[in-house]
């Protein structure tokens, strides 16, 4: 069975703090893809990153960084020096062998000024 677990339902931090959103996945596929999407209050889904199962290099994009660890089946997302505009629901997703996106339940991130 394929599954994505985002155990943190809601996280609240004060602006400028660093915050890490956890994502744990389950799959039997040897080739798979992982994604993070952001859903701001306006409701649209904004693509942030994709990672394939053969590339365990961590990635940094500005204040965003991702830590992919196959050994623990985790694909965590860290925002450094958080800003109020980062407030959103963040979804982790897994692309299965049929290329459907399997979504986690999302983590609501609240950044307080």
């Amino acid at each position: 069975a394929q599954k994505v677990t985002q155990a943190q339902t809601e996280i609240s931090v004060v602006e400028k703090e660093d915050v890490t959103l956890d994502c744990v996945y389950e799959t039997r596929d040897t080739t798979y893809y992982l994604f993070w999407y952001k859903q701001p209050p306006s409701g649209e889904l904004v693509f942030l990153i994709r990672r394939n199962s053969f590339d365990e290099q961590n990635e940094i994009s500005g204040r965003y960084s991702w830590n992919f660890q196959k050994s623990t089946s985790s694909f965590n997302f860290t925002i450094t020096a958080s800003q109020v505009v980062d407030s959103a629901v963040y979804f982790c997703a897994l692309s299965n062998s049929n290329y459907q996106l399997i979504w986690g339940a999302g983590t609501k991130l609240i950044i307080k000024p």
Binding site: E44, L45, F47, R50, Y99, Q100, L101, W103, A105
Partner: protein, 114 residues
């Protein structure tokens, strides 16, 4: 920058009525998808579409649902006889290829069934 568009942004319908949700994918994309998100819940896959036929569909996508690409640009989701539990945000997405390529999402259509 090219984007996926969806119309209408909000549709209110009565239980038992048919609705058609419309999407215009990014023009050079070949794979199309519909997802739904019940308010406050996770996003759920409904169906994928390639080469004018359904590639995959989930258990949610029962006989009440159908998809069509009536012309070269539109991609539609039809719900034949809406139920209260069909109330959700419906997202269309498209991708250049399948698998490792990111799916670009439209802004969604909020469907309210009364």
């Amino acid at each position: 920058e090219p984007e996926v568009t969806q119309t209408p942004s909000h549709q209110v319908t009565q239980m038992g009525q048919e609705v058609i949700l419309r999407c215009v994918p990014i023009s050079n994309h070949l794979y199309f998808y519909w997802y739904r998100q019940i308010l406050g819940q996770k996003v759920e896959f409904l169906v994928s579409f390639y080469n004018n036929e359904i590639s995959e569909k989930s258990e949610i996508f029962d006989d009440q649902f159908s998809v069509e690409r009536p012309d070269g640009s539109n991609f539609t989701l039809k719900i034949r006889s809406t139920k209260l539990e069909d109330s959700a945000m419906y997202f269309c997405a498209s991708s250049e290829r399948s698998g490792d390529y990111e799916q670009y999402f439209g802004p969604g259509t909020r469907l309210t069934v009364t």
